[in-house]
Amino acid sequence: MSSFAEHSTDYAVVESEPPEQLGRNLNTAGHLLASATAFFFLAFVFAYFYLRALNNAGLWRPRHVNPSLTLGTLAIVAVVASAVLIRLGLMDHRAGRRRQWRLKGWLALGLAGVAVALQIAEWATQGFGPADGGYASVYLGWTGLYAVFLLAVIYWIETLLATATRYRKIESGAPPAGHASGDSHRTGHDIHDPLSLVRPSLEALSFYWAFLAGIGVLTWFILYIL
């Protein structure tokens, strides 16, 4: 075999990486992801003001294009409440109140789901479609893609809660053999004390979710209030 096919991981060397390393990775990634998210929605902010200023063919916003302020406001309130709950849950986690953190976490998960549901309800009842001019395009594209980001956050919250709930009896240390994710043939963990990573991941999530909720408030202000 060629010489670059001979090596395989010497797990004896790489096993048991200290969890602080991945914790730092997650923290940095949360901030980088937030900046990328900002640039993504900046495109919609630009589209909104650009098309509004041009008002091509007088079709920026025909009269009947008027989404429900009530449903939109309720959705954004659910988003903000969920982000606040994750923040409070993080404070519980720091203080060692694991049960309270999980409770707030599940509640936050539910509220994020409610926000998505309210958004869908709004699309279903709004009385205009995607073909109704510039505002309708920006409104549907923006809220639709924001909902996709909400689904991603829901996934993030869920994985944290699933780990925290599954191993709620274990304070620290590695989960039992056979519980490693990834390669099915391995029983060991390549991170030393992987359960301690719930905290840094929650820190990163709390930051990112607050940031995304902030973008949500901006979205709400531009689309409903301006």
Binding site: S2, S3, F4, A5, H7, S8, T9, D10, V13, V14, E15, S16, E17, P18, Q21, R24, T28, A29, L32, L33, T37, F39, F40, A43, A47, L54, N56, A57, L59, G129, P130, A131, G133, G134, Y135, S137, G141, L145, Y155, E158, T159, A162, T163, R166, A174, P175, H179, A180, S181, G182, D183, H185, G188, H189, D190, I191, H192, P194, L195, L197
Partner: protein
């Protein structure tokens, strides 16, 4: 060592399992499932193929589920699914022995680097073949081989493939491979995401090639509206391709920055960071922030083509300028995503082959960061003749011309490093020196395009085409080959043939200039880009260019022959540090063991202190905390 380190049973080699074959099968299945679903969506508010006889919803859904199936078949979904069920995080996957790991998800950054090199090479070859066909068509003034529409698709495929795939040409293969080694880390920050960026790029390139089954696309690599909206389903391949490339670049950039910020070994301060890593950081930050704008613009185009929104349709409240703006907010940083890695390679290699420390390290860093920053403020120079408000022109003209200052820093640092150096004209060094020549011409011709009065006459002509080939091919592709000749001995453990390398270099360098220098003249004489015919008095110059281009293509075959001969047949083992570099990756054995370092190194000195000694003494000492906790 730690008790839980034992690997009880090695994985069985199976044809059925998570690998490339399964991925391809599920990719095809996914496509037809999406196609089928797309034909069963009937929303009353969406008259999606009332005015045409095509169903873009079906094509987009087909592509989407094809990618999902491909990734599922490679095994990318099993980890997220394990996390949903609450299993704790892990880092490494499929880091098994043998060649099988090159054909699937593998989290070893060195495997991903080699995967990238081969994968990018394949698509680079396809894009190059398209260029050969373009030059074949232009041998005669009238149309000869391709109808005008097919010619446009050919040009679009060449441009899109090259811009999309080659954006990762240095960061994909080489940064993934050497950055962890340079900074003393055992892995990238997010190994699974690293593998994902590679496979997304491969899916993207493959889907772009399928555009020929849907009639191709007429827009060139920029995808301008309203042509984009009016084009047939072949346009969907372009949109999906660039969208996937955008996601891949975003994640690649994020991973690179996170790695360099958080995983440097003890003692590797920012002022000691290898200059290559600074180039990677600059490029990665552009990837991280510019790609989202591209993805957003393409999603808008997708909605226009499927859900009948009107982002880019002026008669329905949209604007085609919106697309031009969004595209170039991404597009200009994109050209620096292509150029900056070239700077990084040149500045990394020059000290090694001039046997001198890099002159003006801080100036070089400032230059690259300056380019990164300024590249956000210039995008409207692409719209000078689009009919933008004339008052905007001076600002964008000046901001564009300002970029030559930080670019000049890079030149200055490179030149001063060469000054009185003991230069060794190795193959990688020759490619670096060619960069100075090519990029200088590319940069100077760029001034004509940034200047409004001269841009008005040169815009959209072969002049601008010659300009960006001098910067991208002359700047990026030459340094891509410098990087290959430089790092292949470390990546594979084998030497590339030096004589063939020099033949490759000289034919490529001469043929490249012979191809693109006359195009400046052709452009000045009025031949536009993307048009299949031209006035007959330009035939001699065009034929000259075409023949030169064929020689340029042949020089790539010399490289290919060298690559295959040296790595498959001759197999001359490379010494550990053939170039006498002081950088950390060269202090490791070739090829590098999977865990990179038995012990994490500690940096004690600037890694570029080339002096009177032969430079074989590394500036690191291999001490530090023993690996793993050993619980």
């Amino acid at each position: 060592m730690s008790a839980n380190a034992a690997v009880p049973t090695p994985p069985r080699r199976r044809v059925v399992g998570y690998n490339l074959l399964t991925g391809l099968v599920l990719g095809v299945v996914g496509y037809y499932v999406g196609w089928w679903i797309g034909h069963h969506i009937h929303a009353t508010s969406i008259g999606y193929f009332a005015d045409t006889n095509q169903n873009d919803i079906a094509v987009f859904l087909g592509y989407f589920l094809s990618v999902v199936g491909f990734l599922a078949g490679l095994g990318f979904l099993s980890y997220p699914w394990a996390r949903v069920r609450g299993y704790p995080p892990s880092l490494r996957e499929k880091e098994t022995a043998g060649v099988a790991r090159y054909f699937g998800l593998c989290t070893d950054h060195k495997v991903v680097g080699i995967q990238y090199l081969i994968g990018i090479g394949v698509f680079f070859f396809i894009g190059g073949l398209n260029a050969m066909l373009i030059r074949f068509e232009l041998l005669r003034p009238g149309g000869q081989a391709f109808p005008a529409g097919n010619y446009l698709t050919l040009v679009g495929l060449h441009g899109t493939m090259m811009m999309g795939i080659m954006s990762s040409a240095i960061l994909g293969p080489f940064a993934n491979y050497v950055v962890p080694l340079m900074i003393g880390a055992r892995r990238m920050a997010f190994p699974r995401i690293e593998a994902l960026t590679f496979w997304l790029l491969m899916a993207a390139g493959t889907l772009l090639a399928t555009t020929i089954f849907f009639g191709g696309f007429p827009t060139g690599w920029t995808g301008y509206e309203p042509l984009n909206d009016q084009a047939n389903s072949g346009m969907d391949s372009y949109i999906v391709f660039f969208g996937l490339v955008g996601i891949s670049m975003l994640l690649l950039g994020l991973n690179m920055i996170a790695t360099i910020v958080t995983m440097r070994a003890p003692g590797l301060t920012w002022s000691r960071l290898p200059i290559f890593c600074w180039g990677v950081i600059s490029t990665a930050s552009l990837m991280l922030l510019a790609s989202p704008v591209l993805i957003a613009a393409l999603l808008m185009a997708t909605l226009d083509r499927t859900a009948q929104t009107s982002f880019f349709i002026p008669s329905a409240g949209g604007s085609t300028y919106l697309y031009q703006n969004l595209f170039w907010v991404f597009g200009h940083p994109e050209v620096y995503i292509l150029a900056l890695p070239g700077f990084a390679v040149v500045l990394e290699l020059l000290p090694v082959f001039a046997r001198k420390p890099l002159w003006g390290y801080r100036l070089a860093v400032a230059g690259m960061l300056g380019v990164t920053l300024l590249s956000w403020l210039v995008w409207q120079h692409h719209l000078f003749v689009s009919g933008i408000n004339g008052d905007l022109r001076p600002f964008y003209m000046l901001s564009t011309e300002l970029i030559s200052i930080p670019t000049g820093f890079t030149f200055l640092c490179g030149m001063m490093t060469l000054w009185r150096g003991r230069i060794r004209y190795t193959v990688p060094m020759l490619f670096c020196l060619a960069w100075f020549f090519n990029f200088l011409i590319g940069g100077l011709s760029g001034v004509f395009l940034s200047d409004v009065p001269s841009d008005v006459t040169t815009h959209g002509s072969f002049f601008s085409m010659a300009h960006f080939h001098y910067t991208i091919m002359g700047g990026l592709v030459f340094t891509f080959f410098a990087a290959i000749y430089y790092w292949i001995p470390k990546m594979t453990g084998f030497q590339l043939n030096d004589r063939l390398g020099k033949i490759h270099f000289w034919t490529m360098f001469i043929a490249f200039n012979s191809t693109f220098a006359p195009l400046f003249a052709i452009g000045f004489m009025g031949q536009p880009r993307r048009v299949v015919t031209y006035p007959s008095h330009l035939q001699f110059l065009n034929d000259w260019v075409s023949v030169s281009a064929f020689v340029l293509g042949a020089s790539m075959l010399v490289f290919l022959a060298n690559f295959v001969w040296s790595l498959v047949f001759a197999r001359v083992p490379a010494p550990r540090n053939p170039w006498g570099s002081r950088s950390l990756e060269w202090q490791l054995p070739s090829p590098v063991p999977v865990h990179n370092f038995d012990k994490i190194p500690v940096f004690t000195d600037d890694p570029y202190g080339y002096g009177d000694d032969d430079g074989r003494v590394p500036a690191v000492v291999p001490v530090g905390a023993p690996a793993g906790g050993g619980s």
